[in-house]
Point group: C2
Amino acid sequence: MSDSGSEPTRAADRPAAPARLRNLPTRLLSLAAIHSDRRVNEELARVDARKWHYAVLAALDEAGPASQAELSSRTRIYRSDLVAVLNELADRELVDRAPDPADRRRNVVTLTGPGRRQLRKLDGLLADVEDEVLAPLTPPEREELTRLLTTLVYGRGRNG
Amino acid sequence: MSDSGSEPTRAADRPAAPARLRNLPTRLLSLAAIHSDRRVNEELARVDARKWHYAVLAALDEAGPASQAELSSRTRIYRSDLVAVLNELADRELVDRAPDPADRRRNVVTLTGPGRRQLRKLDGLLADVEDEVLAPLTPPEREELTRLLTTLVYGRGRNG
DNA sequence: CTCAATCGTTTGTCTCACTAACGGTTCTGC
DNA sequence: GCAGAACCGTTAGTGAGACAAACGATTGAG
């Protein structure tokens, strides 16, 4: 076999893509995101976590306990999908989910000690993956990319 | 109801995301790609097409007839998934798929007249979507973004 | 001639974004 | 206070995309 290693078929080495596709920003965005997402998920899987876990833990750490609806809109996880994520986090005892006595429709989700510790761990892990994924770019380029993507996603806020 | 229009919940108007998420390049990439992909697919759906249709048509237009394996590596569509895409394109008579007499394992896929016409149409359509998606950026910013993404996806080629 | 590789195809898995609906709770208008 | 609207968590399901595994047919190499 010409390719005995199980290399995930890197972006760089395959035959030339059609110029039209190669220069299409929307396609570049897709390809970059696919690769980046995959690496992130692979690494997180090694510590029994997923992207959404990080999102929820970070949201709780930064804004304190919240209802699921609140978490949903802060993390952009659909409230239907959030249920499973919270189940997983609660199973691992990284968050605590209890009915809100003040409004019994709601649950109050709270970060636990182990949750906070796991968050720190994921912080470090993600920093490494970011570094790897952005490796082809110089530090100023990375900053510029972040800035441009921020504008793209959040619009030109007063702080843009 | 506070929101009678069926707006797809734009990026800009929702509550603040946690700073950690907001600044995470991999996440920004995901979010940008999700939005961009959705817009592209929505618009293509209006003319009974999908992203992959465009990719295949463009590849055929630029490099001439090809086998499915070749198309697969040029467009990055998995060869298993390519089957369905080619079925759809063949149903619409945008491509012609015939066994290769020189190597009977292969099929030769060829762009038809209507296929070429459809490609032109999609070219225009996509240009519009690109414009819409990149609207928050100035023209030089768009170029810079494209450049950075290209480096990210294809590595630092000698033409980078 | 045998064995490995290639090609198209089928089938299936997993994740993700997203919709719809349900039972329970709270809020509002009357 | 009471009916109906709005909100909340939850379940179930859809459709697409990325990807793995295997199979029959064909071709190429030793």
